[in-house]
Symmetry: C3
Amino acid sequence: GKKNCNILICVLLPAICFIWQIAMIALFAIFVRYDPEADAHWTEYMHQNNITSNIENDFYYRYPSFQDVHVMIFMGFGLLFTFLKRYSFGGVGFNFLISAFGLQWALLMQGWFHSLDSTDWTIKIGMKSLINADFCVAGCLIAFGACLGKVSPIQLMVMTLCGVSLFAVEEYVILNLIHVDTGGSMVIHTFGGYYGLTISWILYRPNLHQSKRLRGSSYHSDVFAMIGTLFLWVHWPSFNSAIGNHGDGQHRAVINTYLSLAASVLTTFAVSSLSAKRGKLSMVHIQNATLAGGVAMGTAAEIMVSPYSALVVGVCSGIISTFGFVVLTVSDETIKIQDTCGIHNLHAMPGVLGGAVGAVTAAFASTSVYGQEGWASLLTSLMHLFLLLFFLGRARSLKQGYLFSLGCILRLPCWGDPEDENCFDDEVYWEVTATKVHILATRLCCWTPMLIINKLCRRSVLCQCEGKIRSQTRFTERMLLHMHIG
Amino acid sequence: GKKNCNILICVLLPAICFIWQIAMIALFAIFVRYDPEADAHWTEYMHQNNITSNIENDFYYRYPSFQDVHVMIFMGFGLLFTFLKRYSFGGVGFNFLISAFGLQWALLMQGWFHSLDSTDWTIKIGMKSLINADFCVAGCLIAFGACLGKVSPIQLMVMTLCGVSLFAVEEYVILNLIHVDTGGSMVIHTFGGYYGLTISWILYRPNLHQSKRLRGSSYHSDVFAMIGTLFLWVHWPSFNSAIGNHGDGQHRAVINTYLSLAASVLTTFAVSSLSAKRGKLSMVHIQNATLAGGVAMGTAAEIMVSPYSALVVGVCSGIISTFGFVVLTVSDETIKIQDTCGIHNLHAMPGVLGGAVGAVTAAFASTSVYGQEGWASLLTSLMHLFLLLFFLGRARSLKQGYLFSLGCILRLPCWGDPEDENCFDDEVYWEVTATKVHILATRLCCWTPMLIINKLCRRSVLCQCEGKIRSQTRFTERMLLHMHIG
Amino acid sequence: GKKNCNILICVLLPAICFIWQIAMIALFAIFVRYDPEADAHWTEYMHQNNITSNIENDFYYRYPSFQDVHVMIFMGFGLLFTFLKRYSFGGVGFNFLISAFGLQWALLMQGWFHSLDSTDWTIKIGMKSLINADFCVAGCLIAFGACLGKVSPIQLMVMTLCGVSLFAVEEYVILNLIHVDTGGSMVIHTFGGYYGLTISWILYRPNLHQSKRLRGSSYHSDVFAMIGTLFLWVHWPSFNSAIGNHGDGQHRAVINTYLSLAASVLTTFAVSSLSAKRGKLSMVHIQNATLAGGVAMGTAAEIMVSPYSALVVGVCSGIISTFGFVVLTVSDETIKIQDTCGIHNLHAMPGVLGGAVGAVTAAFASTSVYGQEGWASLLTSLMHLFLLLFFLGRARSLKQGYLFSLGCILRLPCWGDPEDENCFDDEVYWEVTATKVHILATRLCCWTPMLIINKLCRRSVLCQCEGKIRSQTRFTERMLLHMHIG
């Protein structure tokens, strides 16, 4: 029962945090060293490589973009997840917990797969590693979006551990064969989206309607979520350019993403207004689908797609994503997937679009556009579409095995996940004293006049209406509770 | 009526969004190309121009400032406009819509006027174009501030289209003749301010007092607006330095703006405390007038004004702006301009001050301060004050014609603007489900005891007080509605 | 009484603001000039120093970090201080006021102590000066955290004036002798922490429990504070690297701080869950102790501590800080220090830990790790621990004298500090109109049915229960007031 699950969390959450953190320290002590550009030998390295100035350190190329990505992960995603009226603490708090854990594990996993130094078997971390770790965490946060409010922090940490591991493998396969996915349309968004949907499908709750009263937003929680959206929207050009090539590569990625995002805002407003009765705009659409332009531009961000194509990508992704929210969100019960934040519409579908855009643009690009020095890297991108299809086909069986075991782990009864009627409620995992007083006061304020009337009734000739009063009192109380939660 | 206007919005808003976005795509396909620094030919360009390192790409000089400006436009202005208790969605949402639209149109208009390549009739966009487009949008957002809550999204888009066009012309005239307005005191703030006030004068509503109940702030909406203020305040040094000259120019613009902003905070607190009964501070002043130092430093940001002069500019602008809020805000009815956000006090007046500061400092600057290489560009600035006065005189007649036609367009009955009693209310354009439940519950909670008492009355000897109960019930209900909106 | 103190504020606050601002202008006119890198002579300076490119200007090395620090000071601290349910305006607003004042005074004080040009007795300000001024203000904001809600804005300005002066002296002693405190563990955090605790001890209020009703948070004020926490957390790597050495120094400081912060998040969640009944997490812990990793990494940020050591530092600081909140917060009455924000746990203790880490790592560092060019600067750091102890011992007596006089000043009866029952209440210093209406409406909504019942009673045979109704009415009203404040 509920009491039981709290005892489990009380013991398990600290235990897991400590054990994993100690394991991280041990593994970091064995494997992780500073990159030459972050090492005290940098001045010697400069002399050896004929670097004339400190400003040539990769730090100065990438640090502003890294900070923007960091803001997106912790503030953008975190605040976007505060949109539920009584799950704001969980949204922003658990986002904080799993990001801080995930990025340590991502540094290790990505190091082992991508940059293990074969001479001394160590991982050299620098600015690019930190950005990639943040990217990896983004994939897991997308998955968190599908499960928001329905899982315990322990399940989230297990999810993140598995997600980061799976991500590193997938990234290894895609990037080492294809070389083109600067902003991670496929690697991050499609992966994160489908990973989250799978988890959500594994943890399907037939009786989730019991917590329907808490599944909406309140006026101010919508504004908080909108701040998150704006953080993501404004900094997305940095997300798509952070690990781009120095010089024109990063510059172009920013321009393309900027234009694509702007276009998706207009189409989101258009489709949102079209889809509603009386043309009213929906905050859910504006908070999510406006970001689809950034997702869809991810793979092709650095490619010479020309500015108008970036606008076309933005228009298409905005339409697809908003339609997704209008059409697919209602079909929870049919497909047995409960997608709290609609990540399928925001990340999975625009991510697939982004992969397709990357494949098409790579195919159409010619040497005359790219200049003589750029054509070699393009040849490899031509394999893009074929490999994507091949990979999706072949990986499915691998994934299924992985996900089956993941499912068995996640459905263990000991993780302390909330009961169906307590989903989307911060009181399960957080101390929310204010609310208790609130509800108590509400109840009192509602009861007091009733008590007086009851007393009046009892002592008068009007006793016959007592029954009616009682039932109406109960109704009023229920309404008041409902109201004060909203 | 109201139903009618919603049908119009339901059809017109999507139609306009789609048509304009498609027009943008067509025009971008014809005119817009990447700048050499964002183009795949960058490596060849480097060889031709003896550039030795990728870090010399303009991207690395300007990207951090660009991101800050981008944050100011979408988060700073957006959150500043959430201060009304029931217009937070509209403030941040419509800010998002018109910025995303405006920046596309600004890239085109500014390209045609300032950087049309005469060899192939195309516009080459790079980091500086994106910053300038954001600046141009800022002018339109200032104008939005004057009309906040009183116009429909369609009117806002028309306003933005005209505003961006007018801005590009004005900027062409001012900058190509004068060469000095780094942070855009005049070009952006004075223009945006007077443009917004004109629109507000065109759309004057004599019966706006009917929505007076919604024209205040709530405790938390004031905190949201304060976040917007802080975003603007913190990033203003980037705003004034973003398109400055490389090297000492940008460096000096940051120092001057930093000091001017700090000084205007102190004087704003001082004047706010002086102006109120019992010395209480007003959130409206702190949210707005503290920014005046940045506005007033705009034109002269890059000039060698010396640090103490920056403080003097901050002090003066803080005093002027706060006095504006204290004195002018009450006189809506006299001058027939309803300025929701007080943009006259924050942008128009400090902008004029900034222009004057630019003229005076340019006049006083001597070659000994600027070094031998800087004196040539200063000579042109000496024409500043004369041209400003000349331009203001001559342009008035041009503007009048333009604004008359703009007025005719904006007052068309088909734009679906809100009725007088629904101004400043999100429910006209947004789905705000929570509130409905809220009000319903309130009504029930208020009615229920009344109903019981009524029933008691009817069945007892106390029927004579029934009339009194009814009237008091109505009063209570009105109070409750009032309360729960606040 | 209350009326009196408001008159004082009404006159004193503007007077002090104006006088101090004019004094600042005068002192800036006499002493402050632009740094060569921000001066119009920069191009000549480049030729003289064989600098080949504008990108070598210190501006481009430090501006992104400076902006992040600026965001931390005004948005991070400001929003963190909004956590009280009815002191959000004061938290963010007074933070704004004293920061804007403090940074001007800090530029002067730090200039006189650290960078007074002996040839012309002027202070040359550039990017590094602005960052250092922000750091200095951070120390005073930490001190503000201990006094939040209990002091008047005038007291805060006096506190800031003294704090900045004291800080400049302390910084001079520590940095000019030891040379190692990049992120300011000791200089900023330990100083700010103990300075704030001392002020709080001087201003001890035995009857503070009278405003206990306002000393908690509300659901949304906790989310606002969480935004502040995230601003601080995300940008802390910039804080610790902003004045680091160009190249590998800044790069390494970012990596170390990033890892240390991530580790402290996990241990904070663990200890918070362990310490509470039923394993529920506390927002106070998450909002504060997660930042301890950044504080503790301050001194050693630039040192080659190796990545795993950074994790160890984060783990330890997270545990210490969270335990501090669990254990020490309850002991207000015993030690006569009322620490509103728990700065002892967040800044003072992790700052001491950071100093110890710096001393230990400096002692263990060998030339083989640092490369040949780095060993000289290390020798000086070996004196670290000894000097720290020496300094702590000797400075105590100096401090006591200073603090005695400070105490006498701060306890003057004319500063308009709030009465015990009005602490933590924005209505003392801010115009909060919304609340008044709110409470009025609440009172009416509560009274109306009572009035009706009273009338019913008076005219019926039920008069005997009138007394009971009256007492219950009063009870209900009290509850409602309580409820609507929360």
